[in-house]
């Protein structure tokens, strides 16, 4: 699927926010534009593009672009490259900004002002927002925006992005027409490499003259770090935190999941009653509503997980978690930066894969994408629940629920599988490579409800948009495969057996017989490609049940318990740990890696792994007499 590149620029002046990472740039952007934001991607690359509209006191509006944070104009990651390209006017489909707002962390002027000097040299009109001014002053720094302005030669205002009217001075500044006037030439002035020292020296002199050349310790943050980064307490704290997050993801999501399921069933019934029996009804109720509903059901879990991720990110904890895990990840050839995408993948691999964009090293990013689907996403749970409920006796083993232990083992199998794959890739593709870390650990902040809410809203929008496009198309295609051709007159077996999906399933069953799958399972795996949990309702269809949703699993449980062997059930569980049973994930991989190559490699190796795991499981189970 490709995205159209629109070269039509909307009217209005364009201001770009540029600054160091952790300078409070996005908070300022949120403060300026409120909920009036559009989140999309930059043309041709999968880097999040945030644009908003700022209404000035005079009633005029300005378009504001939130560029990815950067330490310099020498890009070190794809995000930083976009910032440089947009500022130079060479980014595809992007207008060169009319004005650059340099967002500067007032508590860290030395580093930020270097970027300001670099941007100023590019010849764009430029103003400086001295952000976190309150924090700097509470640390005893006396900021004088006017003095700084005359040193830098550009207008400077103080801002406090996290305060109600903290952006008033900036808004007033943007009203003044003269700041939008091009200063000299619009030609970008390329900076020769190695010409950095004068800038750093200039900044040092400016700060010395303004009396800001002090290094204040951040006591509060350091005190927290003494616990959080402690060699023993730190990892324990991280483990407890992750455990609580997972508890919440599964416990809190139960109620909303139930509402969505009943709403979907209700809607299906209502619409079904209005339509005459036939293809249209089957298409709308079984294909469209059930298919899309089956994916929306995961929205609560995705949102709860993202709520925690956003809070941890805002507070400054996530980079510390990445630091704590860096050594373990290093053992398998990854860096701590891969931790966040992999964590997200436990809700759904799609946001996880999208979160790999922050990994600068292309090899690390690709490896993280390739192993992300092995993290047990929530779509596997309905399948796990069905099989465990039907086959694993509900009794205790050494004080633990046996069913819970099996579920835990399945999670563990996915994690260990992914570590093993990453380790093999390390031995083969990353010999002797030391990947950069250089990860900033920002000072701790209380998370701001407003930013968290906005971030969540944007996640929900992205997820729903995917449901609306890729997943919808795939659901329709698979409904078609499972419905046509129609069974002949007087057919006795379920309709799905006569369809293309049925034929594929029968063909597949030859291939899958060695791992213990019967033809019913093989057929169910075909529509299960749309989304894993669809296999449950597909099994229901194959076993000629009319119930839908939760009813299917309840009715199905005794049937499969009766007709499958334990070896087959364990083999199917092993299959689900690894098999890439999710077209939407593969489509996301294609988009994120810019081609089908890696999506196909992923599908190939995961299917091979699933087959191997199922084969071993099945054979071992048979040998143990569980056939």
């Amino acid at each position: 699927m490709t995205e159209a590149v629109i070269h039509l620029h909307p009217p209005g002046r364009l201001a770009a926010l540029v600054g160091n990472p952790n300078a409070g740039k996005t908070a300022l952007f949120n403060r300026l534009t409120g909920s009036n934001q559009k989140v999309a991607n930059y043309a041709g690359v999968t880097i999040e593009r945030k644009e908003g509209k700022l209404a000035l006191p005079s009633g005029k509006t300005v378009r504001v672009l939130d560029l990815p944070g950067t330490y310099s104009l020498h890009p070190r990651s794809p995000d930083e490259r976009i910032t440089c390209d947009v500022l130079q006017g060479t980014a595809r489909g992007e207008k060169r900004p009319d004005l650059v707002v340099c967002v500067v962390d007032a508590t860290n002027l030395r580093r930020s002002l270097r970027l300001v000097l670099g941007i100023k040299r590019m010849g764009l009109p430029c103003v400086v927002a001295l952000n976190m001014a309150d924090l700097a002053e509470s640390r005893g720094m006396r900021l004088d925006p006017d003095a700084l302005a005359s040193e830098l030669g550009v207008p400077v205002v103080s801002t406090v992005a996290v305060q109600g009217d903290g952006d008033a001075a900036l808004r007033a500044l943007l009203e003044r027409p003269e700041i939008w006037q091009p200063t000299t030439t619009l030609m970008p002035v390329p900076q020769p490499p190695g010409d950095e020292l004068p800038d750093h020296e200039r900044v040092r002199q400016i700060l010395e003259r303004l009396g800001l050349d002090v290094v204040a310790p951040h006591l509060a943050s350091d005190r927290i770090d003494r616990v959080v980064l402690h060699p023993v307490i730190g990892p324990v704290l991280l483990a407890v935190l992750l455990f609580l997050v997972f508890q919440a993801v599964f416990a809190w999501a139960e109620a909303p999941k139930g509402w969505i399921e009943s709403a979907t069933a209700w809607l299906g019934n209502q619409v079904g009653a209005l339509l005459p029996e036939g293809y249209l009804r089957s298409f709308i109720t079984d294909g469209l509503i059930a298919g899309v509903g089956g994916v929306i059901v995961f929205l609560p879990q995705v949102l709860i997980l993202f709520f925690f991720i956003l809070v941890l990110e805002e507070s400054g904890y996530l980079p510390r978690a990445a630091f704590l895990l860096d050594r373990i990840m290093g053992g398998v050839g990854l860096s701590g930066r891969s931790f966040i995408p992999l964590l997200s993948s436990f809700a759904c691999a799609i946001p996880g894969i999208m979160a790999t964009r922050t990994i600068a090293n292309p090899r690390d990013r690709l490896v993280t994408i390739m192993i992300a689907p092995m993290m047990t996403c929530s779509a596997r749970l309905p399948v796990y629940a069905l099989l465990i409920g039907a086959f694993i006796p509900n009794r205790k083993l050494a004080g633990f629920e046996l069913q819970g232990l099996v579920l835990f083992a399945l999670y563990l199998a996915g994690i260990l599988g992914s570590l093993a794959v990453a380790w093999i890739l390390k031995r083969t593709t990353a010999r002797g490579l030391v990947r950069p870390l250089m990860m900033e650990l920002p000072t701790y902040h209380w998370p701001h409800l407003r930013s968290v809410a906005l971030g969540l809203w944007q996640r929900a929008e992205i997820f729903m948009r995917r449901v609306g496009t890729i997943i919808l198309v795939l659901t329709i295609a698979l409904w078609f495969l499972a419905s046509f051709p129609t069974p002949p007159e007087g057919a006795t077996r379920p309709a799905i057996e006569y369809s293309i999906a049925g034929m594929l399933g029968h063909g597949l069953s030859l291939l899958l017989a060695p791992i213990g799958f019967n033809w019913q399972i093989s057929i169910a795996l075909v529509p299960g490609l749309a989304a894993r949990e669809v296999a449950v309702s597909a099994l229901g269809t194959v076993y000629a049940l009319s119930a839908t949703g939760e009813g299917t699993a309840e009715a199905l449980s005794p049937i499969i318990a009766h007709s499958w062997s334990l070896a087959t059930a364990l083999s199917l569980l092993a299959w689900y740990v690894f098999a890439p049973q999710c077209m939407a994930t593969l489509a996301t991989v294609k988009r994120e890696t810019g081609g089908w190559k890696w999506a196909l490699v992923m599908a190939g190796y995961l299917f091979a792994l699933a087959y191997l795991a199922s084969f071993v499981t099945y054979r071992v189970a048979l040998a143990l007499g569980w056939g």
Binding site: N108, R110, R111, D225, F323, D326, R327, G330, M438
Partner: protein, 103 residues
């Protein structure tokens, strides 16, 4: 497994008497001053990147904590920021004592 990461950057020979003190080998919690960032022949962009995030000559640095096991990566305070660095990255930052000045 990653003992090889503490590679010594290639440099013109220094006077034998001066032992280079680098950020990967300094004690925790003591302030030092960056003398210079040494280039690493294997990772040519590293020196520039370290300078961009604030490791400039004259800047105050302090190792806050070290990862376990093996002391890699390190948490380093540079000026007003805190960064996690790999041992190999810290090994590129040559430092000297502050001469008794406190942080």
């Amino acid at each position: 497994m990653r003992r090889d990461t503490f590679s010594t950057p290639e440099l013109p020979p220094v006077r034998a008497a001066t032992r280079r003190l680098c950020l990967d080998g300094v004690p925790l919690g003591q302030p030092f001053v960056v003398q210079r960032v040494l280039p690493d022949a294997n990772v040519p962009e590293r020196a520039r990147q370290l300078e961009e995030i604030g490791f400039n000559p004259g800047e105050q640095v302090m190792v806050m904590t070290r990862g376990i096991p093996g002391g890699d990566p390190l948490v380093v305070r540079v000026g007003q920021s805190t960064f996690a660095l790999r041992g190999a990255e810290a090994a590129c930052i040559q430092v000297e004592g502050t001469g008794g000045r406190a942080a």
